[in-house]
């Protein structure tokens, strides 16, 4: 295969796989939630109910696509696209296996991910703002405050990994974990990144932007049909992305004995996808001020201490 064909296969393969995965996750989530609530979940359409998503897709595509007359039309339409585009772009830097990955050798890979996840905030804010309704606006505001403040220590937590690996290149970070996965030396950073990742994808228990019992559906209250579907796919793509990054940065990415690299990557990723869903099944939502206090008063100092200690240890080792 020529390099161009291989590159194209990589790009479209990952794109399609991610899209299908994000869609299928709706079924996975409902099924797992069902199990954890002593139910079955959707188990009718196709084997184990796997074709549920096909039925859901048909339904959501044929729903009325309504743009409220009081909304800011252009921003309203663009908002759901932003979340999908940024999250899929961020996936470009994730090294899935040694030869699979769109731009896994990008030398600012980690920064690219942070930039894209910061851009994803725009989608939520714009959606809340353009909807021109009070619940959407409140949801959008919450989302902006939450995601920006959690982004701060997400970046700081990641710096611990960068200090240890000495690079922003994600594939190189994976290679740097050949001897010891970073979850060992960077356990605090790992915990902080997982918490920040949950907040970043605004999943439960940090789903205050869409807190149903207070805000209707939060920032996507006014969305219908496939525009809503795009937010949904974006959310699940976000879960996959954050899980993949946790696996890449802290659990040695594709590395592991016996099984082929891609399988190891998928196992680690899906472990965290399952964990995210378990969080939703188990934990209640905190109050908004608790969420902000938790971020700024606990997580940020912890991330700073983690970074300082990691840096000190690395410098001390280099001095020897």
């Amino acid at each position: 295969m020529s390099p161009l064909a291989a590159g194209l296969a990589n790009v479209f393969g990952i794109l399609v796989a991610l899209l299908l995965l994000a869609a299928e996750l709706t079924w996975v989530e409902r099924r797992l939630l069902g199990f954890w609530q002593d139910r079955y979940g959707p188990n009718r359409a196709g084997p184990f109910g796997m074709l549920q998503i096909v039925a859901d897709m048909i339904k959501i595509l044929f729903k009325q696509d309504w743009v409220p007359p009081f909304s800011d039309r252009s921003a309203f339409v663009i908002a759901p696209m932003i979340v999908m585009v940024t999250l899929f772009l961020a996936f470009a830097v994730v090294p899935i296996a040694p030869a699979i990955g769109v731009a896994s050798h990008l030398d600012v890979g980690l920064l690219f991910f942070l930039a894209m996840s910061a851009l994803a905030v725009y989608s939520v804010v714009l959606a809340g703002w353009a909807s021109n309704s009070k619940y959407s606006l409140l949801g959008g505001m919450r989302a902006a405050a939450q995601m920006l403040s959690y982004e701060v220590f997400m970046g700081l937590a990641l710096m611990g990994v960068v200090v240890l690996a000495g690079t922003f290149d994600l594939a190189a970070i994976v290679r740097a974990q050949r001897g010891l996965w970073f979850i060992g030396p960077q356990f605090v950073g790992f915990v902080i990144f997982v918490v920040a990742g949950i907040a970043e994808t605004h999943r439960l228990p940090f789903d205050l932007p869409e807190g149903e019992n207070e805000l209707g559906a939060g920032f996507h209250t006014e969305y219908s049909s496939m525009k809503f579907g795009m937010f949904f796919v974006g959310e699940y793509a976000g879960i996959v992305l954050v899980s993949a990054l946790i696996a890449t940065l802290y659990l040695g990415g594709w590395q592991g004995p016996l099984l082929p690299p891609i399988l190891w990557f998928l196992i680690k990723t899906f472990f965290f996808v399952g964990f995210f869903i378990l969080l939703r099944a188990a934990l209640p939502r905190p109050r908004y001020d608790q969420l902000m206090a938790y971020g700024w008063k606990v997580m940020l100092p912890l991330a700073l201490i983690n970074l300082a200690v990691t840096g000190a240890v690395v410098v001390a080792r280099a001095a020897h």
């Binding site: 199990f35 954890w36 609530q37 002593d38 139910r39 079955y40 099944a281 188990a282």
Partner: protein
């Protein structure tokens, strides 16, 4: 934080519990004998219709889903038509409570879905069953004082012959 982890663990353990769901079409749920489902009209032990068109069920119905018309034949009252609109019925059972002759009864059957709404309107022939339902021995005309062909006044069960008010003998 610790309690959160504890919660996570206990929630995870539910993966290995027994499922509470009854997979309905394959697995039928237990329905109590007094479950309030599809409404039927029963017959008395002689095979005659029990309904005497007193309209009490229609009056008692909170959603007005029962309509009927009285007709008379040889001194007995029958419904000329008896119609229940099951798309409105809420299966409250008030009609059964109101019925003085045990004619209208609710059965433990709820599988009556239709693709078209008009098909949910049941006529008398759809509602009438051949049996007596929950009250096997009961026949209204056998205990009622009303005179019908073959049974004059005073011939019903536990009924004295009528007293001749104009007679002089005790």
């Amino acid at each position: 934080m610790l309690s959160a982890l504890r919660t996570l663990w206990f929630t995870f353990l539910h993966l290995f519990r027994r499922r509470e769901t009854i997979l309905y079409p394959e697995q039928k749920p237990y329905l109590a004998p007094r479950y309030r489902g599809r409404i039927v009209l029963t017959r008395d032990p002689d095979g005659e219709e029990r309904c005497v068109s007193c309209y009490l069920c229609s009056v008692a119905c909170p959603v007005d889903c029962i309509s009927l018309q009285k007709t008379e034949e040889n001194g007995r009252w029958y419904p000329a038509f008896f119609r229940i609109n099951f798309s409105r019925c809420i299966f409250c059972g008030y009609c059964e409570e109101a019925c003085p002759t045990y004619a209208i009864q609710l059965t433990p059957d709820f599988e009556m879905s239709e693709y078209e709404r008009p098909n949910l309107v049941y006529e008398k022939e759809d509602l009438l069953i051949s049996g007596t339902g929950k009250y096997p021995g009961y026949s209204f005309y056998r205990v009622a004082g009303l005179a019908i062909p073959g049974k004059d006044k005073g011939e019903a069960e536990r009924e004295e012959p009528p007293v001749d008010l104009k007679g002089l003998l005790p």
